[in-house]
Symmetry: C2
Subunit: 257 residues, 2 copies
């Protein structure tokens, strides 16, 4: 089970805590990938660093990298671990430089310099499996490295997808993208407009009709990539409804046929 927790859940102590309580109850081997929330942006503001976004992606200059490393791999990661331990789950928090979990390279783009943003090259499956086999729940922050000592800020949805794919050769893997919405919505203003199932054909049509919120597209692309690489099931939905999500009683299930 690879679960990504994102969106504003991380910024809300109560919501995060009740999510982690539900997460703790899930049986079997677990990987939790978390994003960053707004704390990094707030901290950057406090010390006078301007944040830039292009196409919804953060431009990561050296100072911003420092902040996201501190906030994602330090503050958020360790607080999640401490909470899970309190719920009786032996968990270990890592970034993707740890044990060479994910090697990446600085993004190459013809026109935009993303700064210290990493695109994934390679997963160290055996190290990750070693942790899981030690019965540790692995909590992953989205900071990769290039193998030459450089940390890189990396999209957490992509990391969840890559880890799910890598683990699918060893385990039956379900990938859950959980966030503040009920699922993939037909109307972004209406929480009751959840699309229960999306397959490649309906996805193509939804995109053509511009019926899905643009912010969902990278997540859905990640979902289909995961499915095509052996992940059993991908579910997208509300973090506070985790148990129902996992059982398929809520959210959007992405299928491959």
């Amino acid at each position: 089970m690879v679960i990504k927790i994102g969106g504003n859940i991380i910024d809300d102590e109560n919501k995060l805590s009740s999510f982690l309580k539900e997460f703790a109850r899930i049986l079997g081997k677990k990987i939790l990938v978390h994003g960053g929330g707004k704390l990094a942006t707030r901290l950057a503001g406090q010390i006078g660093i301007q944040q830039q976004l292009v196409d919804g992606r953060r431009i990561t200059d050296a100072e911003t990298l420092k902040i996201v490393t501190m906030v994602y791999a330090g503050y958020i990661n360790k607080n999640i671990v401490a909470s899970l331990q309190a719920f009786g789950i032996e968990s270990i928090g890592v970034c993707d430089a740890d044990g060479n979990l994910i090697k990446a390279h600085k993004r190459v783009h013809p026109t935009i310099d993303y700064g210290f943003v990493g695109d994934v090259d390679e997963i160290n499956s055996s190290m990750l499996q070693g942790l899981l086999e030690q019965n540790l729940c692995v909590v992953v922050a989205p900071i990769t490295h290039d193998g030459n000592g450089q940390l890189l800020n990396t999209n957490a949805d992509t990391i969840a997808q890559e880890l799910a794919k890598a683990m699918s050769s060893h385990y039956h893997v379900r990938l859950v993208y959980s966030f503040e919405k009920n699922g993939v919505l037909l109307n972004v203003e209406d929480e009751n407009s959840v699309i229960p199932q999306i397959n490649p054909a309906s996805y193509k049509k939804l995109k053509e009709d511009r019926a899905i919120f643009a912010g969902m597209i990278p997540k859905l692309d990640n979902a289909f990539t995961a499915l095509q690489s052996g992940v059993q099931k991908v579910i997208i939905g509300k973090a506070e409804d985790l148990t129902n999500l996992i059982e398929g009683y809520a959210g959007t299930t992405i299928i491959n046929e």
Copy 2:
């Protein structure tokens, strides 16, 4: 081999990098415990949090805890890991909440409220051994937890001592305290006044004569505690001279007889 790196080495990118290069060359199982350096104090200053010290110990209020968690367990820990990976050492960075490595309690003191400062209760030896047996070099940040979800700021010298003690029932352990000085100095102004060996009797005399710098006393107390609990050897000396330290060609060796 448990090595503590502290003092201003952490603040100096070049010194830290050459230390890590030497550290990477050491054979056998390795644990690196790091302190915090001045970055936490600087960051606190930038966002307007006043730091308080009592008897050389930081008083850790909620905001300071947030900062040390970010800086120690995030920025410093992950940059050390990325550097070690670049030197070919598969290493994993953890704080002491990870895998329940060190359970601690909030310090109880009759007159001073230290805030979120932890005193060590218990080490999860089997989890740590599991990581070492996975051939991972373990990089440890001095942030413990109380098992109820609360992170706690903890003295890194003490953590190194506790981990060395815990591992001494499984391995032959040497504990090295490395910092900016050549060793335990008779005259704190004179780097050539290194005391090559200290045993309990000479330590007692040095303390009576007030011949040792007060800041060294907690480190030496930690050293003797470690020796009494089965650690084979404790060495104190200059981080930049790590290879010689380990071989006993430099620094101060603490012995039990």
